[in-house]
Point group: C2
Chain length 554, copies 2
Amino acid sequence: MFQEAIYHQPLGAYGYAIGSNRAKITLRSKKGDLKAVSMLHEDRFDAPGSHGTLQLTLAGSDEMFDYWQGTVESETKRVRYRFLLDDGVNRLWYAEGGFATVGERAGWFHLPYLNLADLFTVPDWVEGAVVYQIFPDRFRNGNKDNDPDGVLPWGGTPTPSTFFGGDLAGIIEKLPYLSDLGVNLLYLTPVFFSPSTHKYDTIDYLAIDPQFGDLETMKELVDEAHKRGMRVMLDAVFNHCGMLFPPFQDVLARGQESEYADWFHIKSFPVDTQAINYETFATGVASMPKFRTEHPAVREYLLRVAEYWVKDIGIDGWRLDVADEVDHAFWREFRSVVRAANPEALIVGEAWHASTEWLNGDQWDSVMNYLFRDACIDFFAKGDIDVEGFDQRLTRVRMMYKEQATKAMFNLLDSHDTERFLTTCGEREELLRLAVTFQMSYMGIPEIYYGTEVGMVGLTDPDCRRCMIWDEQEQNRELYQWFRRMISIRKEHRALRVGSFRSVIVDALANVYGFVRETDEEGVLVVLNRSRFAQSVSWPDGVSGGVDLLSGAR
Amino acid sequence: MFQEAIYHQPLGAYGYAIGSNRAKITLRSKKGDLKAVSMLHEDRFDAPGSHGTLQLTLAGSDEMFDYWQGTVESETKRVRYRFLLDDGVNRLWYAEGGFATVGERAGWFHLPYLNLADLFTVPDWVEGAVVYQIFPDRFRNGNKDNDPDGVLPWGGTPTPSTFFGGDLAGIIEKLPYLSDLGVNLLYLTPVFFSPSTHKYDTIDYLAIDPQFGDLETMKELVDEAHKRGMRVMLDAVFNHCGMLFPPFQDVLARGQESEYADWFHIKSFPVDTQAINYETFATGVASMPKFRTEHPAVREYLLRVAEYWVKDIGIDGWRLDVADEVDHAFWREFRSVVRAANPEALIVGEAWHASTEWLNGDQWDSVMNYLFRDACIDFFAKGDIDVEGFDQRLTRVRMMYKEQATKAMFNLLDSHDTERFLTTCGEREELLRLAVTFQMSYMGIPEIYYGTEVGMVGLTDPDCRRCMIWDEQEQNRELYQWFRRMISIRKEHRALRVGSFRSVIVDALANVYGFVRETDEEGVLVVLNRSRFAQSVSWPDGVSGGVDLLSGAR
């Protein structure tokens, strides 16, 4: 037995509550090493009837490891447990005390008490969500009267500083389009008052930028969206503000005397926007001074902002910009404030790397799943990894997170910060179709970046922020219909939204990937052929015929 | 290279801030596998001058793993890094993306920004602390007037319900004794109004039990202790209350109509203390109803209690009973309230198992280190493990925790909940002496259970709670002097309090253990001979002669 490869801890994604009396347990072992993993569990105070055993099942594998999972029930909410590992030759107990042939010597792992206060909950509506990400300046110009000076004709070439006049009225105007497509959660990149086209340099967190509309327009958008069963999320930039944010201007003007002098990371006074003697977003971005979020007044200010839009305007959640650079303590308070304002609000962080630390249930619900995108690029778009590598990458990312987070992941193929997926595919539309089919049938929330559904292309920012194509002659309508259909299939089959996930065909030779999503009521088999040829596959174990969801044939 | 054995995550005890611009990094590998571990690190936004390399050093080993550690500095507070692993044959890069021969393909681990708000800080005074744990009913009867009915003569045989009349006045009276011994942090098991002798079933969290004194006596104790440079910690039972706690009595009387009906985990009404249809401490302990700490009113009540004793009475910290069964969210609020009341207050949880989850810096500072005790029992008292096993067990526990927690660990040999260590040693005093020598020279805060220093024995509760022996004829004065001397040597040598730790003699044949504690100014070599014979050892590498701290010889 490869003992050194075996890993479990009663924390993070390896041991955690998924209900008031249930905990999910994961154990990692060297790939192919173990034949069976079971678990002895009980209440540590020896409560009558608390003793039980549980067989774990192999939930998936990545390049190096197998992951064994099971769900333990405990009436008393107290669980201690040890594993019995079997590699076909030897059996060993494993727990906090290490490995032993006699159980008692291995000791126990402990989930001392499953407290409801620590239970990771995501809103139920997450189950049916399909996100549509909008970069407001580039989606639709619904009101020419609020166009900023120097606005360019729709469809021009974007630069980092060009304006095209998209606005909230435009989004409202296009709600029927979005409804038809089937998306039901709009995520708008920043809309607050700001000098830039991207608006990540906020001047006023409580005002809509006049080029987009005003509070009334925002309320109208939220109301109209809600009427159509759609939700609206906004983008909060709490890592930094814009240079023109009045408190920062006050510090520029009054230096140490400013009551806001402690709101920022100022290295010396007077503050100098040329020498940039203050911390900023990234490196030396003078226009984006970084907030000192540990300062109580800053926290209070930002928390009130977070609460205002949820409570007073009725938005359904927040996407959080550069969220991994803001302190964990802030996000804990943020979660508590936002959830108090609306228990159904969704919290999604921006982080491009493994985000385990933020997804324990006390901070964010979800993250922009760029690791999902990376895997899709490598498999669908570039063919840099084969079907086995793809399956492993997916497993690896799933095993990073608690299942509540996995269900709420924002699974994106592209965004305002990346090259368009169709461009990455070398404009081979069939690859995008395959990726979208996967995206719409995988665990988590599919996220569509505006325009990808009509075949928009573009290199990374600013090219990926071109104006939405509205001329149906220029739109790829067949692609649009494919998106629409895939969304519709997802909506019709609960198994695709909340079912368990199990890969059943990992055929590297044919380059065919198949997986099953299953609930107690139904199962859906998805088969993706990434090769250039037609392939025939056998029914995988435990799967038999049914309805072909594409043709309707039995 | 045994890739499956290699573990690192940029979180928990593996990657964390130890200062505003410094992070400590640990990587685990199969024992003996790697020859060298180094690290490439930089600001992810490519800040000029942020690029660097770091050589990690082998900090220790346990049964299966080597632990490599290093401290990375970052002016911008943003660190991304990947490891270069060398097993003498192959070199591989390792980061979030896995193992690769080309660094870029391994990707990076990320500590996105070292926020001060998330920095784990423990009070500076922890450095010099030596704890003395007092079970108040059994330490000293200083005031006969407050003796409870049926008090037994001092020195009688304790049962779970006997009273012996010990009180706060007695502790005040014996402060000179404690001063002479050299301890400087008194931890009193519960003193609040309660019917039992142990007082873990609180009636009134804001009143001193009359058998111990009153608020004035407690203030006097705190003041007198402070005058002598000693601190005082009390024991908070926030997991459960006593059956006579007025809110619970109200629920008993008024059932669902009670405004406190939601304060407890009631399974059905009316509440029945015979059938015990409510959750309690442990299993079916009717006298100890469990609090529903997720209820805002309960939280608020308990937080005000926590604040009151720190702020109004001036205690220096809290020991938290059954603390692992109370929710993490509560402890986070608790930390923030207590530290606001006194930024120097210490927070120590009770948990008998690995407590990684509570010691990230947002909840407790420290834990009753029963894993330390387990290792000391197995090595010093019972000889069940040899010196190598002992060294491995110590390493393992150290590697569970961030260094801030390791420095603040309550390293105990026995407590009110365990057999006396001398009894576990089969009353072989030389083994206790050896263990105390180790305890006083190891990392963390030594904790002495009252009476162990004068040779008290006893099986587990209630026998370990015998009356303190005050008759010097009955005290083991030689043992007392040994404790006193070891404490004094610890106080004289900062290296023993805050120095780094490195085991340098792990001689299983001779059963001799030697380690060095080191600061920039001095180093102390401690050599412990666990065998029955005199042993001679060679100077370990890098250690040369100095002053013998026992004999004074050079």
